[in-house]
C-alpha cells in the first residue's frame, strides 16, 4: 500500500522535546528543507510523473514508547511510504521493530548502535531498517587507529557517558582496538547524562598521565569537559567522535577546542559541490552551520528519493527493494552504499581538526 496518487507521504519521528531536543530540531530543520527543495522544484519525478512530497513530523518526546506509537501512527494513520528517524538508538530501536513488522522502510539518520538494523533473535539483518551513518565499532576503531598511528600515542584516557549507549559503544570499541594494537588505556572514566561537573574524573585522568584523551560525547558536553580539564592544567590533545560535529561546538567551546581532532562523516571545507550547496542553503535558512544530524537527515531523505525513483512507483515494498540495492548514493556526508543484505551503509570517515574556529580536513580515516 502507501500513498495517495499525487503525493508522496514521508514520516519523520524526531526528538523535538525530551532529553535531546537539539537533535530533534536539526532533524526537523533538515527534513523540512529537503522536502521544500523537492516541492519548490515541482515535485519528485517517479515513474514519469511529478509527485509532491508531503511531510509528517512526529515528536517522540525523548521516550521509547512514544517513538513506537509515533512510528505506528505514521504507518497506519498517515499511511506514509517511509519513515526517517528517530535519531538516537534508544528511540530508533523500538520504532524499527514497528517498521519491520509493518514492512515499511525506516531510515535512521543517526542511530549508531549496531543492534538497530539487526534482529537480535536471529542476528540476521532487519529487512526494512536502514541507517545513514556508520556504526559505533567502525568509529571506535577509526579513532583508535588515528590515535595510535597518526598521533603516535601509546597511553590514552577515555571519559564517556555511561548512561548513553552511543558514547559507551564507541568508548568500548576504542579501548578494544587501542589495546589490541599495542596502546594502553590508562583511565576509562564515566559520568551520567546531565552531569556538568567532571572535575573528579579529570583530576583522576590527570593523575593517570595519558598522552591523549578521547571524549566520544555530545558537542554540548565536550566544551565543559575540555574547559574543566584545562582548568586543572591538562595539556594533552583531545579526540572526539562524530558527535562533536556541530558548529555549535565552536561557539560553546570558544578557544578551548582549538587544535583537537574528531572523526566524522564529511569535511565541510573539502566538501563536494553538493555538500557545499546544502551547507549554504541550510545556513541561509536557519542561520547556522548544519550539524551531523542535519546532514545525515538530509542524506536519509536523499537515499529515500533515489530509492523511490529507481523503484518507479510509490509502493512500500518496492522502495525497500530499491533501497537495499541502491548502487551508489552521493550524499552530503559522502558516498554510501548498503552492504549486501544489510541496512548499514559502507561509508568513509574523515578526521577533522578544529583550527581557527573552523573544522578543517585533517586526514582520511581507515578502520
Amino acid at each position: 500500500g502507501g500513498g495517495a496518487s499525487d503525493t508522496i507521504k514521508v514520516g519523520v519521528v524526531a526528538e523535538l522535546t525530551g532529553d535531546i531536543p537539539a537533535v530533534g530540531a536539526s532533524c526537523k530543520n533538515a527534513a523540512e528543507m529537503s522536502v521544500q527543495e523537492i516541492n519548490d522544484a515541482g515535485g519528485l519525478d517517479v515513474g514519469g510523473k511529478k509527485y509532491k512530497v508531503e511531510l509528517f513530523i512526529e515528536d517522540n518526546a525523548g521516550k521509547a514508547d512514544q517513538s513506537a506509537s509515533a512510528a505506528q501512527k505514521l504507518i497506519t494513520q498517515q499511511n506514509v511510504v517511509a519513515i526517517i528517524g528517530p535519531n538516537a538508538s534508544r528511540y530508533a530501536i523500538p520504532a524499527s521493530e514497528i517498521a519491520e513488522s509493518s514492512k515499511v522502510v525506516l531510515i535512521s539518520p543517526w542511530s549508531t548502535n549496531p543492534k538497530t538494523t539487526v534482529d537480535a533473535k536471529t542476528d540476521a539483518p532487519k529487512k526494512y531498517v536502514f541507517r545513514a551513518c556508520f556504526i559505533d565499532p567502525f568509529q571506535g576503531r577509526v579513532v583508535a587507529k588515528f590515535a595510535l598511528d597518526n598521533l603516535k600515542t601509546t597511553k590514552a584516557a577515555v571519559l564517556y557517558d555511561v548512561a548513553s549507549d552511543y558514547n559507551k559503544g564507541i568508548a568500548e570499541f576504542f579501548k578494544q582496538t587501542y589495546e589490541e594494537n599495542g596502546g594502553t588505556v590508562v583511565a576509562f572514566e564515566t559520568y551520567t547524562t546531565g552531569d556538568k561537573d567532571f572535575s573528579a574524573q579529570m583530576t583522576k585522568i590527570k593523575e593517570a598521565g595519558p598522552e591523549v584523551i578521547f571524549l566520544p560525547n555530545y558537542y554540548s558536553e565536550v566544551p565543559l569537559q575540555i574547559q574543566q580539564a584545562h582548568r586543572l592544567g591538562i595539556t594533552v590533545p583531545f579526540l572526539g567522535s562524530d558527535s562533536w560535529g556541530s558548529a555549535e561546538l565552536i561557539t560553546l567551546c570558544g578557544n578551548d577546542c582549538e587544535g583537537y581532532y574528531f572523526s566524522t562523516h564529511y569535511a565541510p571545507d573539502a566538501a563536494t559541490p553538493q555538500a557545499t550547496k546544502f551547507i549554504d542553503a541550510y545556513k541561509a535558512k536557519y542561520g547556522q552551520v548544519p550539524d551531523d544530524v542535519a546532514a545525515l537527515t538530509y542524506d536519509a531523505f536523499g537515499l529515500f528519493y533515489q530509492a523511490i525513483q529507481s523503484a518507479g512507483k510509490i509502493d512500500r515494498q518496492a522502495v525497500r527493494d530499491a533501497l537495499a540495492v541502491i548502487p551508489k548514493f552521493e550524499g552530503v556526508t559522502g558516498t554510501m552504499q548498503f552492504q549486501e543484505g544489510s541496512g548499514d551503509p559502507i561509508k568513509s570517515a574523515v578526521i577533522l581538526q578544529v583550527k581557527d574556529g573552523k573544522f578543517v580536513w585533517f586526514a582520511n580515516a581507515q578502520p
Binding site: D65, Q72, Q77, K115, A163, D165
Partner: protein
C-alpha cells in the same frame, strides 16, 4: 507526605439547571448500576480478543490501547501508595524496570523462543514477583521514615536500579535489551489490567485496605486502633510494586526494546502525573487518569513542540480547579464491591422493617 491536613474543605455543589438534573438522574442510574462492572469486563475481554483477530481498529489504536492498559496498571498500583497510603513515592519506574528486565531476560536468554508464547503468563508473574520482592526492601525504610524523607528513599531507589542496570553488561548495560519478542497482545494486556484493577480494588475495600488508608489519615491513631501498620505498609508496597513489575513486563514485550533510560525519574514523574490527574485514593480515577493522559499525548501530537507546553498547563489548571484530581477520593458506585454496599443496604432494610410495625 500527609495530604489530608486540610483546614477547609469546600464541597462544591455546582448549580445545575433543570435539564442537567434530568441528565444527572440518568447518569446516576447508570453509574450505580451494579451490572455495569461484570458487563464491561466481559465485553472488554471479548473485544480485546476480537479486535486483533478481525482488525476492528488499526494497529496504531491497538498499540495505544495496550499503552492505556499498561498505564492503568502503573497508575492504579502507584495510587495504592500515593493515594491510599498518603505517601509520596517518586520511584515507581524503578519497580517497573525490575519487572521489565526480569521478564526480558527470561524470554530472550533463558526460555527457548518456541516456548515463549506458552510461558508468557508465567514470565509476567515472575516479573511481578521479582518487583514485589524489591518492593519489600523499599518498604522497610517506610517503617521509620515518612513524607519527604520517604520520597527521597524512593527517588534514590529509582536511581540505584537504573545505575545497577547500566553497570551489568550481561543485560545490555546502557544499550538495553533489543529484540524482545512481541508477546504482549491485546487480550493479555486486557487480562492483566483487569486483574490488577480487580485485585487492588478488592484489597482497598478489605480491612487491610482500610488499614492502609488509616495510615494516611493518622498513623498513630491507626496503630492505636489495632492496625498493624508495618504489615499494612508492607502489603501496600509489595502489591504496588508487584503490579508495577507486571506493567514493566508487558511494557517490555510490547516495545520489544528496553534500556535503563526508559525507566528514569522522568518516567516516574509521568506516572505521578497520571495518578494525580485521575485523583488520589480512587481506582476509577486512576483508570481515567491513565486513559486521558495517554490519549491526550497522542491527540496533541500534531502540536509538535507545543504539545509539551500545553500538557503541563492542562495539569496545572486541573489542579487549580480540582485539587484532588478528577475523581479524588471518590469512586463510581458500580465500582464498589457489592457486599460493601450490601451491608448498609441490608441494615437499612432491617431497620425499616423494625420501625414499620411501630408506625402502624
Amino acid at each position: 507526605m500527609d495530604a489530608q491536613k486540610t483546614p477547609q474543605k469546600n464541597i462544591q455543589q455546582p448549580g445545575k439547571g433543570q435539564k442537567l438534573g434530568v441528565w444527572k438522574q440518568y447518569w446516576d442510574r447508570f453509574a450505580s448500576n451494579r451490572w455495569l462492572l461484570p458487563v464491561l469486563t466481559v465485553a472488554g475481554f471479548i473485544l480485546s480478543i476480537l479486535i486483533p483477530q478481525f482488525n476492528l481498529v488499526n494497529p496504531y489504536i491497538q498499540l495505544i490501547l495496550m499503552y492505556i492498559g499498561i498505564n492503568i496498571i502503573l497508575t492504579t498500583s502507584l495510587n495504592l501508595i500515593n493515594g491510599y497510603m498518603g505517601e509520596f513515592s517518586v520511584g515507581h519506574a524503578g519497580f517497573m524496570a525490575v519487572g521489565a528486565y526480569t521478564s526480558a531476560v527470561l524470554t530472550t536468554i533463558f526460555i527457548p523462543t518456541s516456548l515463549n508464547p506458552w510461558l508468557f503468563p508465567l514470565v509476567v508473574l515472575a516479573a511481578g514477583v521479582a518487583a514485589g520482592l524489591v518492593g519489600l526492601l523499599v518498604a522497610i525504610p517506610s517503617f521509620k521514615t515518612r513524607g519527604d524523607y520517604l520520597a527521597i528513599v524512593t527517588l534514590a531507589f529509582n536511581m540505584i536500579v537504573k545505575s545497577i542496570i547500566e553497570n551489568i553488561e550481561a543485560i545490555g548495560g546502557p544499550r538495553g535489551i533489543p529484540g524482545i519478542e512481541k508477546l504482549t497482545t491485546l487480550p493479555w494486556a486486557f487480562f492483566w489490567t483487569a486483574l490488577a484493577v480487580w485485585v487492588i480494588r478488592n484489597f482497598v475495600y478489605s480491612n487491610f485496605g482500610r488499614g492502609v488508608m488509616s495510615i494516611r489519615e493518622d498513623e498513630i491513631a491507626s496503630d492505636l486502633m489495632s492496625v498493624n501498620t508495618r504489615q499494612a505498609k508492607l502489603l501496600a508496597f509489595v502489591i504496588s510494586s508487584f503490579f508495577a513489575g507486571i506493567a514493566g513486563a508487558l511494557f517490555a514485550h510490547v516495545l520489544q526494546f528496553i534500556s535503563p533510560k526508559v525507566f528514569d525519574i522522568l518516567k516516574s514523574t509521568d506516572i505521578l502525573i497520571m495518578v494525580y490527574l485521575g485523583g488520589i485514593g480512587s481506582i476509577t480515577g486512576s483508570i481515567l487518569g491513565a486513559t486521558i493522559f495517554t490519549i491526550l499525548l497522542e491527540v496533541l501530537r500534531p502540536l509538535g513542540v507545543w504539545r509539551m507546553v500545553l500538557m503541563p498547563l492542562v495539569l496545572v489548571l486541573l489542579m487549580l480547579f480540582r485539587p484532588r484530581g478528577i475523581m479524588g477520593l471518590r469512586e463510581f458506585r458500580w465500582f464498589i464491591p457489592h457486599y460493601q454496599l450490601l451491608a448498609t443496604h441490608l441494615w437499612r432494610k432491617k431497620k425499616e422493617a423494625a420501625n414499620a410495625p411501630a408506625a402502624d
